[in-house]
Every structure is written in structure tokens, then in C-alpha cells.
Symmetry: C2
């Protein structure tokens, strides 16, 4: 069993895996006669020519923080934005090997979008239950690949 410690989620650290969706440090401009600030195009939904972007809500429940598998979506990006202000965990890896995993602790005002093909763990919430707006791809083709890890990875909070 390998242990893994969460790092703070920052744009720079997360750049190889996807975009961080947050207002802090983001380009913005004012619209609607000065009444709205638009933090513009924080990420783009990649769906390929045959896919479309759909919006869903994922209701995640707390689960043991012992990881045994990773997954990826080869045909499209997948974005998660928390709908309540609770920290949550993001686990990604350049390859689905236990020693390659990275864990980021996101705050309740940080979302992420995984680039197409990036290995990640399914949703990990830290409170009893948390909702997320999810933007991902719908369309033809097989867009889910799962891989068991050769050893379990335990997140050490």
C-alpha cells in the first residue's frame, strides 16, 4: 500500500492534467451595464466533431480514501464544479501506476476540467454529500477506459 498526500490545487501544478475553474487570478471583464463580471473561458469543453457537451449534476457521497482504480475519457474533457462550499479531492496521473498518482485538495470555489485522455479517479468528496455541475461529452464511440491499480493507494489527510 502506497500513501499519497494532498497538495493545494493551483493552475500551475494542475496544468499537465487540465484547467482549474476559479475566479482567482483569471482574466475577466465587465458586462451587463457594469453589473456582472465575466471570468471568461476558464476552460473549453472538448467533445470532438461527433460529440456534444452535456450538463449533468453529480451527487457525490463520502467513500473510503483507499484508491484501487483510475479511469479516463479518451474522446472528451470532463469538468466538475462544486455547487456547495466544501473542500474536495482531485486525483490525477500521467499513467495509471500507483507511484504516478497526484492528489490535489480543491476548495469549494475551485472546479477542474480534465483534458481528454487524462487518467483520474472518480469523484472524491470529503463531506457526507456534495453536488457538482459536470460538463462532459455525449456522442458515439467508447469514451470510458478503466484500469485497476497494481497496488492500493491510500490518501493521507
Amino acid at each position: 500500500m502506497i500513501t499519497l498526500a494532498p497538495e493545494p490545487l493551483t493552475r500551475a501544478a494542475f496544468a499537465p492534467f487540465g484547467d482549474v475553474i476559479e475566479t482567482a487570478g483569471a482574466a475577466h471583464f465587465v458586462i451587463n451595464e457594469g453589473t456582472t463580471t465575466r471570468f471568461h473561458a476558464l476552460t473549453e469543453a472538448a467533445t470532438g466533431p461527433e460529440g456534444t457537451a452535456i450538463l449533468s449534476i453529480f451527487r457525490g457521497r463520502r467513500r473510503p480514501l483507499t484508491l484501487t482504480m483510475m479511469e479516463r475519457h479518451p474522446l472528451g474533457s470532463q469538468a466538475f464544479m462544486p455547487l456547495s462550499d466544501e473542500d474536495w479531492l482531485v486525483v490525477v496521473a500521467p499513467s495509471p501506476e500507483p507511484s504516478a498518482l497526484r492528489c490535489f485538495r480543491a476548495t469549494g470555489d475551485q472546479g477542474v476540467s480534465y483534458f481528454s485522455g487524462i487518467w483520474h479517479h472518480p469523484l472524491l468528496v470529503l463531506c457526507a454529500q456534495q453536488d457538482f455541475l459536470v460538463v462532459d461529452r455525449q456522442g458515439p464511440g467508447e469514451n470510458l477506459e478503466e484500469r485497476m491499480l497494481s497496488a492500493a493507494v491510500e490518501i493521507e489527510m
Copy 2:
């Protein structure tokens, strides 16, 4: 001056204008080894063949509830999902005439997606400041049409 009273936001009442993004009454299934409920494809981002869906955050500030204009996006849908639990207002119309406007009061766990070409008012929040995740279209072509109303419309709360 015309006055307009907010109605509750329901899927049935909003159907001519777009989708309501909420878990209540939505189709769902369980994923991630039973730890996540997916309320699936609550709406689709329409962008046309030349557009892509982008994710932005809109930070809306309270403004007077006297409406003088409407707008629409002929080339793509536009979805708003509140990121904090505060009621907000949605104003739509089949045509940009004062007597045609409808106002819906959305709760903090209800988002909407305006279909392409649907006349709507820019963001109307009821608290001092509220953030929304916005999914709309980026791409070539003119995707914003604005129209002044022939008479002001006052929302009566």
C-alpha cells in the same frame, strides 16, 4: 411602465424557453461503485458546427429591477448555474415586447439553459453578489442581439 410578477420556476412553465437544471424530478442513475448519483444530461450545450462550449464564471451584482432591454444569442444556448444558495430571477420572452415578458424566480439549486435565439434579460441576482457557472458558445459569427423595450418593465417582488 408595465409591472411583472415572478412565477415559480418549473420545467413545464420554462419548456418553451429552455431547460431547468435541477435534480428534482430528473432522470438519474448510480455510478462510481454506488458512491455517486448522476442526474444525467439535464441540458445540452448547443454551439452549432463551428462553435465550442466554454465555461466561465459570471459574478452578478444586484441592480434595479426596472428592465429596459432584452438580448438573445442566435448561434448557441447559454446555461447559468448558481454557485451559492440564493434565489435569483430569470426573465424570458417569445418576443422583445414589454407585454410578452415572463419572470421566473429560481432557487439557489436551480439553473437554466436558454435555447439558441430565446430572448432573455441579462443576469438578475437578488442578493448583493452571486456567482454562476456559465456554459455558452465561442466561435465565429455574431452571437449577440440586443433590443430596447418600447416601455420599461418593473418587476414587482
